[in-house]
Symmetry: C2
Subunit: 200 residues, 2 copies
């Protein structure tokens, strides 16, 4: 008999449950997904699941944080680039692709709804959001200093507007079940162009 059980087991089980949960949530959303369904998908019993998560809400929180972290990671491509508008267009392209195929976009909407009701999750997402905002603001400031664009508006204002628009467009696409993303990317690019290079 081993004195210590496999120390990697908890992490593995949590991963296994989260993967199953994410699949179910994408398919049917938070509201319509049953713990029993997650258990079936993860091939685990309810009792075992509740050994690794305190509640369905905690699973939702974990999925939400994960998805938003993924989204924020896309901002990496802004750092190196020196053609800001093109980099922003690529960011939009990547964002829409990541939250594209049906369920993923709906998952975004679910996350917003849950965050509005759960103060803990809201706090965590606000922090992520601030980080994303800071990174985009910095990228814009660098471009302004390099005279690549004209500082007609405060960098932070532009960043806030661009992020809000990205989010809003993602939701529109979810509602309309648009899978092609050319239109949205083009519109986002035009927006960035007009905000960053106002031709004054």
């Amino acid at each position: 008999m081993p004195r210590l059980a496999d120390p990697a087991l908890p992490a593995r089980r949590r991963g296994q449950i989260l993967e199953a949960a994410r699949y179910c949530f994408r398919e049917r959303g938070f509201r319509h997904t049953t713990v029993e369904e997650i258990c079936a998908e993860a091939r685990i019993s309810p009792g075992a699941l509740y050994r690794y998560f305190d509640s369905k809400t905690e699973i939702i929180t974990a999925i939400a944080l994960d998805a938003r972290a993924e989204a924020e990671a896309l901002l990496d491509r802004l750092s190196g680039s020196d053609a800001l508008v093109e980099a922003l267009a690529e960011l939009a392209q990547a964002f829409f692709t990541a939250f594209d195929s049906d369920g993923d976009a709906a998952l975004l909407a679910d996350i917003w709804a849950e965050a509005c009701r759960d103060p803990l999750l809201a706090q965590a997402l606000r922090e992520r959001d601030q980080a994303a905002l800071a990174r985009m603001t910095q990228a814009i400031e660098r471009a302004q200093e390099a005279r690549e664009i004209y500082p007609a508006l405060a960098a932070r204002e532009i960043a806030e507007t661009l992020l809000a628009t990205l989010e809003g467009m993602a939701l529109q696409r979810a509602l309309r079940r648009e899978n092609a993303n050319g239109d949205a990317v083009r519109r986002f690019r035009a927006l960035a162009l007009h905000l960053l290079k106002p031709k004054r």
Copy 2:
């Protein structure tokens, strides 16, 4: 004994239930609101409630349609105006005020999430959305024809972007629990200005 019961009763009961439901949904969201709570708030029994609505989902649908209709009605103020940018700023102001005090903004998020999962609701909201889009497009076209603004971008593209941004900003505000709306309105106004008057 009356041959016909009060013909206004069904409408009254439905209104009574919807008002109670809206209060509960604002307070706790779709997911965390109980039919029992709605019944208590409406001072009615579960059996009576199910006489007027087939399911909790149907109540949610009714509330969602109602809220979006309210939002679309705000577009009225674009029709008469001849100072488009100012009218847009006022629209944003009205929108943020309507979906301001705490629960209302969260309700918006709930509606998006539900719409992504319920094809019937999605269809209905898409129709409302198209109508809103058409109205804003028309207002922009009129301004372009009047040479008030320069037709640098297609009116419909601008309208799509502005509506997406309005939605995205409303969600950001919900997450951050911002009650003052000066910042968001100012940013939206700047956005409209840059998209509509690109100074070419």
